[in-house]
């Protein structure tokens, strides 16, 4: 992993978190190390139960690591209880105080910090404006919509100007359109406030569009950290490739290996070249990963061939699902252009051309 220009806001060093004892023991986090830079929009991405919330809870101080340490701007925060950590959380359920108004909710943190009334009022007004909720300041939180509650939760967490903002799947309760709006809104807020965001999601598209960097997690481990482009174009492991975007997997035999390049023979007999993920030394058999948009269906001969099983039209592009001669399925995604390009029929025999640099060999 290339390391850190600039300061690290959070450093997680060898953190393990174990729940339960004896037989029933589970490691929710298994020796996780990651550095999160100042002012970055950092996303923890992974399937349900992989330990995302657990990591956030350790940073917020609601729970303590079984092993390892967490540094905030270089100093260990283990001795600090949650109410002394300059870190705020936007909870998945929002957790707005139902007995207070919107304005009181937003002012709560500042009040607890003992700020003078005038300063609190000014800051609350500023926050209301930032999240565009000026008109609803006096409402009870039970009298506003889900999207508005989301904004209040954000404003409340931002008001004390934390060093780091933790967001645990803040958008998952919203409907599609609102979620899209809030994604843009969140990016804007992060940009305007300059606060480091640690954002949790299990939605890969959300992660790709919003983040400066992403950490992909699976069963308590961080598999890869990188920019959205890195993660998508150069997944380090099969799991990452599978989790981010659609992917085709083909069995292959390695013929020769030369630095980061390999020559492989597919089951169909076709020989193609593939890149090998950094630091991975495959031998013998391997799985080749090909993104649907990096391959092309053609009428006639390709690198591999099969029969069209289904054609799905998506407006901007078309997905062609092909049953290969060896029984595997393979998906090709082609851009649609008006009047141009070949169309395919179900049952038609087609070839698949695998683009240069399209195939990658990954660790399972």
């Amino acid at each position: 992993m290339p390391d850190t220009p600039g300061k690290n806001a959070i450093e997680v060093r060898g953190v393990r978190k174990v729940f339960g004892t004896g037989e029933a023991q589970v490691a929710a986090l298994d020796t996780v190390s990651v550095s999160i830079r100042e002012n970055e929009f950092f996303t923890l991405l992974g399937p349900s139960g992989c330990g995302k919330t657990t990591l956030l809870r350790l940073i917020a101080g609601f729970d303590f690591p079984s092993e390892g340490e967490i540094l905030l701007y270089g100093s260990d925060i283990a001795p600090l209880p949650p109410f002394k950590r300059p870190v705020n959380t936007v909870f998945q359920s929002y957790a707005l105080f139902p007995h207070m108004t919107v304005a009181q909710n937003i002012g709560f943190g500042l009040e607890m910090l003992g700020k003078p009334r005038a300063e609190i009022d000014a800051r609350v007004a500023e926050m209301l404006k930032l999240v565009r909720m000026e008109k609803l300041a006096k409402r009870r939180t039970s009298q506003i919509s889900g999207g508005q509650q989301q904004r209040v939760a954000l404003a409340r967490a931002l008001a004390p100007q934390p060093k780091v903002l933790l967001l645990d799947e803040p958008l998952s309760a919203l409907d599609y359109k609102l979620r899209k709006e809030m994604q843009i809104e969140l990016k804007r807020l992060q940009h305007e406030t300059g606060i480091t965001f640690i954002f949790v999601t299990h939605d890969q598209e959300e992660a790709l569009t919003m983040s400066d960097r992403i950490a992909v997690m699976s069963s308590g481990k961080i598999l890869q950290v990188g920019s959205p482009r890195d993660i998508y174009d150069r997944p380090a492991e099969r799991f990452v490739a599978d989790f981010i975007g659609e992917t085709n997997f083909l069995d292959a035999r390695i013929d020769s290996l030369d630095g980061g390049k390999a020559k492989v023979t597919l089951k169909s007999g076709a020989s193609i070249s593939a890149t090998v993920a950094d630091g991975f030394k495959p031998d013998g058999d391997a799985t080749v990963v090909i993104r649907p948009e990096h391959a092309k269906a053609v009428k006639g001969q390709g690198d591999i061939s099969g029969v069209v099983e289904n054609v799905v039209y998506f407006g901007t592009d078309t997905h062609v699902h092909i049953k290969l001669d060896d029984g595997e399925t393979f998906t090709v995604r082609q851009q649609n252009a008006r009047g141009a390009g070949a169309t395919f029929e179900r049952g038609e025999r087609v070839g698949v051309v695998i683009g240069d640099d399209a195939a990658q060999i990954l660790k399972d």
């Binding site: 609601f62 109410f83 870190v87 705020n88 909870f91 359920s93 957790a95 105080f97 709560f108």
Partner: protein
């Protein structure tokens, strides 16, 4: 087509329901009606009159016992509610551990041990303290009532705490509230309806108690229920009806008041 099962359509449902209501409410209706009876008999109607209310009002013993009842019930209810709130916090705001079930049982003990046993035990226990200290005031009754009121106050408070979203307290801590401030500003305001319900229950239970009071009270410490019991032994006049009616009215008012108070808090 199968008809949906409806309990209302079962034979006898209406009859059983009606019988239950009659059994529950008819005696009370009769009791209240006869409080306005002009005759000295509790079973013969002799015309409408308020004389028994007047008589009860001017009966020093009745007033004395009523005030004592209210005094004991207020003190016991408040003390029991405070203890129950702390107990509820201690048993819900903690990781489940072995012995927690035992703790529940311990707190709820007065619900399970027969009152008469508690009464006798307290009688003996307090007798020794009386000898040792010479104190023989209302404190014993208040202490005894507090003890058996705790589980009644505890149950609604615990229910409220268990239904409360724990992330609210976490959010408070996250926003720089010390544990005490988080409790004051978040937990307590949300707990109020439970506390009020607990207080109300404890108050009514204390007001009503006969068995334990009978054992624990010293001479001249009659509460209204024990006084009424004594009266009935001696021959019963509609004055008892009048007192009961006032009590009934009082508890209806209290319950309604608390109900609206707790609704508003929600």
């Amino acid at each position: 087509m199968a008809k949906r099962f409806s309990i209302r359509q079962q034979t006898g449902f209406t009859a059983i329901a009606a019988a239950c209501f009659v059994l529950l409410y008819l005696p009370i209706v009769v009791l209240v009606a006869y409080a306005f009876n002009d005759s000295t008999s509790v079973s013969e109607w002799g015309g409408f009159s308020l004389r028994w209310f007047v008589s009860a009002w001017s009966n020093v013993q009745v007033i004395d016992a009523s005030l004592r009842s209210l005094q004991i019930a207020s003190c016991a209810a408040i003390l029991a509610t405070i203890a129950a709130t702390m107990a509820a916090l201690a048993t819900t705001r903690t990781q489940a551990y072995r012995g927690l079930t035992f703790k529940y049982a311990f707190i709820n003990q007065p619900l399970m041990v027969p009152e008469i046993v508690t009464g006798v035990a307290l009688l003996i226990f307090f007798a020794q303290i009386k000898v040792a200290t010479g104190y023989s005031g209302l404190g014993y009754l208040i202490a005894a009532h507090t003890a058996f009121c705790i589980p009644f106050a505890y149950l609604p408070i615990r229910a409220r705490l268990e239904n409360m979203d724990l992330t609210l307290e976490r959010a408070a801590a996250d926003l720089y509230a010390t544990p005490w401030k988080a409790f004051r500003r978040v937990t307590l305001p949300l707990l109020w309806p439970g506390i009020i319900a607990g207080l109300m229950l404890a108050f009514v239970i204390s007001l009503d108690d006969v068995v334990i009071t009978e054992f624990v009270k010293s001479g001249g410490q009659d509460t209204l229920p024990t006084y009424m019991l004594g009266q009935i032994r001696r021959g019963i006049t509609p004055e008892v009806n009048a007192i009961s009616t006032v009590f009934l009215l009082l508890s209806v008012v209290i319950v309604t008041l608390f109900f609206f108070l707790s609704r508003k808090r929600d």
